[in-house]
């Protein structure tokens, strides 16, 4: 078992006492660990094996039917003073939130294994990277975290003996929306999430830490955590410009980050650095520099095809976790907007028989792929540069039918 530093161990002991798991496993991020957890998930039904000839290392996960998206109305920022959270956040006093959630965490891991997942946001060896430790009782969360972040030894080495890590506590609880809360305590560098196994609610390195907590840290330390893609644009003259882009969900951020220019634009190339989050800070040269804190892509599946995003199609052919897509009889996934036509029969995202005549969609509209960034054919050679890349332009996009011009 990987040794924890005393600040981490103290926190783990505290949570163990509250949640009373049957056992505690500290994750090291190794390949053997991935294989073991995958095997266990196949046994419990948390994962379903996809066709390994066609899609090596790919698995399907089905969420609880009422646990398929982030839940902003159950998401709170718990600062001592309400004005600190602002009108843009739901607020609860920290002590109330702690009391309420402690009640839900009490004994919540009884009969379960508690996984301790040290993770690094940002490139290894970068002075801008940050460490978090997520405690979770979900194997699916661990397997996703190991794609989306750098977990295990690399994170513990970065942390050393320091107390400077984000404490991320997650329990599935009973998955009831009535007992679901995602609470952030920026003043304590802590996140408590209970009652959901879905992406942004449960993979606490992503929106919770790398945006909400990081935005707070950035304000204190003089940098910015932003909901932005990062791309490099190579011109026919061979010069590369780096751009970031802020777009709300469902505006094609992943597609833009992985854009393939048409044949009528020879010499242009887009290189991908990130599709969701950018950490920005001033460089010594007075320019703005960006790193992508994540190491994977958690993308919306429906609509992904060779026409909309050929690079994404390519990268999700192996080592990918599919969540809430439909399953074809040959063990391959399918979704609305897939290159293949509707299958004559399939299982929908809840595992129910589906045919093209069914009134409901086969894949959930918010179904996802989780895939390692390094598998993206357009990944930039500089995506893990510890210093990041200098930014020449920031794009702000939205979905407007009128008034806002193309650019």
């Amino acid at each position: 078992m990987t040794a924890l530093s005393s600040p981490v161990q103290r926190w783990v002991d505290e949570i163990k006492k509250m949640t009373t798991p049957d056992k505690v496993v500290v994750c090291d991020g190794s390949e053997e660990e991935r294989e073991r957890l995958t095997k266990e998930c196949l046994a419990t039904g948390e994962l379903i094996e996809l066709n390994q000839q066609k899609l090596p290392g790919c698995y399907l996960h089905r969420s609880a039917p009422h646990d398929v998206a982030r839940t902003e109305h159950l998401t709170f920022v718990c600062t001592r003073h309400k004005e600190e959270a602002g009108p843009n956040n739901n607020w609860m006093p920290p002590s109330d939130a702690k009391t309420k959630l402690a009640g839900l965490y009490q004994g919540a891991m009884k009969g379960r294994t508690m996984f301790v997942v040290p993770f690094l946001m940002g490139p290894p060896g970068s002075r801008f990277s940050k460490v978090g430790v997520e405690i979770t009782d979900s194997r699916y969360v661990v397997l996703n975290m190991r794609i989306m972040t750098r977990i295990g030894r690399v994170a513990l080495e970065h942390l050393g003996g320091s107390d400077d890590f984000t404490r991320c506590l997650h329990s599935l609880g009973d998955l009831s929306p009535d007992r679901r809360f995602i609470c952030h305590f920026p003043e304590e560098n802590t996140i408590w999430s209970v009652g959901s196994g879905y992406g942004g609610n449960a993979l606490l390195g992503k929106k919770c830490m790398a945006l909400r907590i990081a935005s707070w840290l950035g304000k204190k330390e003089g940098w910015l955590a932003e909901h932005m893609l990062i791309l490099g644009l190579r011109t026919p003259e061979g010069k590369t410009h780096y751009l970031t882009g802020a777009f709300p969900s469902a505006c094609g951020k992943t597609n833009l980050a992985m854009l393939v220019p048409p044949a009528s634009k020879p010499g242009w190339k887009v290189e991908t650095l990130g599709d969701d989050i950018a950490w920005l800070r001033k460089g010594d040269d007075g320019r703005l520099w960006a790193i992508n804190p994540e190491s994977g892509f958690f993308g919306v599946v429906p609509g992904t095809s060779r026409k909309t995003n050929p690079n994404a199609v390519e990268m999700i052919q192996k080592n990918t976790i599919y969540t809430n897509v439909a399953l074809r009889p040959d063990g391959t996934p399918w979704w609305e907007g897939h290159d293949d036509p509707s299958p004559a029969n399939a299982l929908d995202w809840q595992g129910r028989p589906w045919t093209p005549a069914s009134s409901e969609k086969a894949a959930h509209p918010n179904s996802r792929f989780t895939t390692p960034a390094e598998q993206c054919p357009s990944i930039s050679p500089r995506w893990q540069d510890p210093e990041g890349v200098p930014i020449s332009a920031i794009l702000f996009g939205a979905r407007r039918q009128r008034n806002v011009p193309l650019v």
Binding site: G86, A263, K282, I391, A398, R399, L406
Partner: protein, 156 residues
């Protein structure tokens, strides 16, 4: 607002923090507003999107290099019709004109909703944003008012 659900503190303070970071940059990035989703009268998207978005990024990059032709409008610089490379694209002159059009009447509504949004942050909103907003509102107002009426409504 892509960050609205993800700012872990008061967004008024967040805007102020952006200005702070920006002030320290000697070579700040240029800022662009994009919209792939404008529709025509038939309700269909005017712009093909996906790989063809490279044509917009091309103009963006040219602007950062001090090139790329633009016209000054009440909401900022917008490309001239010739400045977007449409070679190899099945896009009519009219569609391109619609894509690049700035309609002050539509913007008057947008200014109003921005007013409400900014208002929700009260005194936490940095005065720089308030001033920018007022200038935008003034430019939109002027663009909607025929030239011979300029100034009359303010009593000058």
């Amino acid at each position: 607002m892509a960050m609205l659900p993800f700012v872990g503190y008061n967004m008024g303070d967040y805007f102020a923090h952006w200005l702070e970071v920006g002030k320290k940059l000697s070579t700040p990035p240029k800022i662009f507003r994009l919209n792939w989703f404008r529709t025509g009268e038939n309700g269909k998207f005017l712009w093909p999107g996906y790989g063809d978005n490279i044509r917009v990024l091309e103009w963006v990059v040219k602007r950062t290099e001090g090139k790329g032709e633009a016209v000054d409008t009440p909401i900022g610089f917008v490309p001239t019709r010739k400045a977007i490379d449409t070679k190899g694209l099945d896009l009519s002159e009219d569609a391109l004109a619609q894509l690049l059009r700035v309609d002050p009447a539509d913007w008057a509504e947008a200014v109003h909703s921005q007013e409400e949004f900014f208002g929700s942050f009260g005194s936490r909103l940095p005065h720089e944003l308030r001033e920018e907003h007022d200038l935008l509102a003034r430019r939109i107002h002027d663009a909607m008012t025929p030239p011979d009426l300029h100034g009359r409504d303010t009593g000058n």
